[in-house]
Amino acid sequence: MSLALYILRRLMSVVPTLFGVTLISFFLTYVLPGNPALVKAGPLATPEYLAEIERKMGLDQPVWVQYGRYVGGLFRGDLGESSATGRPVLQDFLQRLPATLELTLASLILAVLIGVPLGVLSAVHRDTIVDHLGRIVGVAGVAMPTFWTGLLFIYVFFYVVGWAPPPLGRLASGLSPPTSITGLYVIDSLLTANWPALWSSLGQLALPAFTLAFSVMAPLARMVRATMLEILQSDYITAAWAAGLPRRRVIGDALRNALIPVITTIGVVFGFLMAGNAVVETVFAWPGIGHYAVTALMTKDSGPIQSFVLFVAIMYVIVNLVVDLLYGLVDPRVRLG
């Protein structure tokens, strides 16, 4: 199969998934939560007024027409309105997205920096104390509720030891955010040489990023270990040993080949991170879209939460698509299969 055909086929395969995703999200938003017109009109509305609102909202149309309008709205970036802030949800989203991106990226980097070496160590020293320890930490790590890990970190590092700043937002109070270039405070303050903001934003980011990274580190290390073991047992590695190549060299070669399949797991890891985001942002009062969605729920504002659900799913589909395409570029066997 040619590369172009591979890319085309992979792109087409996303269409039914996105169709299903928007269908589910449509049902969550419009079909399930009772009568949206009733919510909008309030409890004292007369039947005539209610019918008027229903007509305006298009609720008297057949369901498939409503779905068509919903998807049409999505293409124009219409995610509905937040009844709490009175603004379009998209606007609220875009304002908070950089905070979420900063947290997600930071924890992804941390998870890879710690999880990958951990997995490699366990595989190379298979069935030794290192391996067993790694396994125990991994099994325990998966079982820890993310919100609890976050609270433990706050208690130990903020309350007891006092190393971390108060877990409230992205910057210490009193500091103004750096000039916005990317929206990520750490990068912006670096670019503008704003050292107090850089130091403060790094400090604020450390605990939530570690918490989130902790929740995905174990599965990541596990996947790296499995791939690495498989490769260490393959013929060309045996041949390399037999040829008397130095240990460092052999393990280095194995690692390079183990990292390619690990790329695909980034897609899965990203899903975990997005799920953890809502919780971690809530624990650390991190002003991202997860926190926004959870806060909206407290006021029974269902627009933001359903948009968050849809947004996460679409991001997940896109990230996996990109990962697959990259993988196809790097490893020709995928295209042929």
Binding site: T17, A293, V294
Partner: protein
């Protein structure tokens, strides 16, 4: 002819369940974890007998006291004994994920069997739907569902079940594709069994062991999801009590140093999830010895 029919009968895999139990008993880690689950279940059932105090009895005289001999895990802001509250909360924490897992398992297995055995456009349609649901991380989908449905206990069970169903559909569909071509399936067809009988009586029972492994692992995951939902205020809410919700309440007292109020409920979640995961891992090692020590 008679020969091949006989061999078809004898190659039908024997039930792996007794062997599964044997192996469980021999592995100390798995067996220990299983013991923890049994103890937790007993604690939940016998809660009124075991709990040292009435979980709802308030006593302002001992409010917010740390662990002591009287109150082993300390007291909350109303002076309620935390150990007793945790013991009673174990009921919801076990029964909600359990109901959700059972419901998802039955529904998922039936749909998966249908999908895998029949194939064709229905199989395609079902698999596309499964992919769409799996595009939502479980907790995020659960948030959307409880926000739309409301968070009664019944709805939380339904929500957790919906997030799990696709996993069983996929699993059983794959198993079906494998076993439907086997000789004993061929034999069952040759004797003139109707399709529903072939699937339910001859094929599905052979898919039960991997189903049990998946369900065990899913129990832990469902508990984590429920605890996170409750922590966010979207799951179980007071006056009902559950470990995630208790952690959220306890977190309010962290800044004044009452650590026991958030540490112990979270620890309860972790121990329970850990036990289910270890049992699940042990069972999987048994079913697929090739993977032993690899994953």
């Amino acid at each position: 002819m008679t020969d091949s029919a006989l061999s078809a009968v004898s190659t039908r895999p024997k039930s792996r369940l007794p062997a599964m139990w044997n192996r469980l008993r021999r592995n100390p880690v798995t067996f220990g974890a299983l013991t923890v689950i049994v103890v937790l279940a007993l604690v939940a059932i016998l809660a009124p007998v075991i709990a040292p105090f009435d979980p709802d009895a308030t006593d302002p005289a001992v409010a917010l006291e740390g662990p002591s001999w009287r109150n082993l895990l300390g007291t909350d802001v109303y002076g309620r004994d935390q150990l007793s509250r945790l013991i009673f909360a174990a009921r919801l924490d076990l029964i909600v994920p359990c109901c959700a897992t059972m419901a998802a398992l039955v529904v998922g297995a039936l749909i998966g069997a249908l999908s895998g055995y029949r194939g064709g456009w229905m199989d395609q349609l079902i698999m596309r739907m499964v992919e769409a649901v799996l595009a939502f991380p479980a907790l995020v989908l659960a948030m959307g569902l409880t926000a739309a449905l409301g968070n009664s206990i019944g709805n939380i069970i339904l929500t957790l079940a919906i997030t799990q169903v696709p996993i069983y559909i996929r699993l059983i569909r794959g198993e079906m594709l494998r076993v439907r071509e086997m000789e004993y399936a061929e034999a069952a067809r040759a004797v003139g069994n109707p399709p529903w009988r072939i699937v339910l009586v001859h094929l599905l029972p052979n898919c039960i062991p991997p189903l049990i492994v998946q369900a065990t692992l899913a129990m832990g995951f469902a508990l984590l999801t429920m605890a996170a939902l409750s922590f966010l205020g979207l799951g179980i809410r007071p006056p009902d009590s559950e470990w995630g919700e208790m952690t959220a309440e306890g977190a309010n007292h962290m800044v004044t140093g009452e650590w026991w109020l958030f540490v112990f409920p979270g620890l309860a979640v972790m121990i329970t999830v850990l036990a289910f995961n270890l049992v699940g891992d042990g069972l999987r090692d048994f079913l697929d010895p090739r993977m032993r020590g690899v994953r």
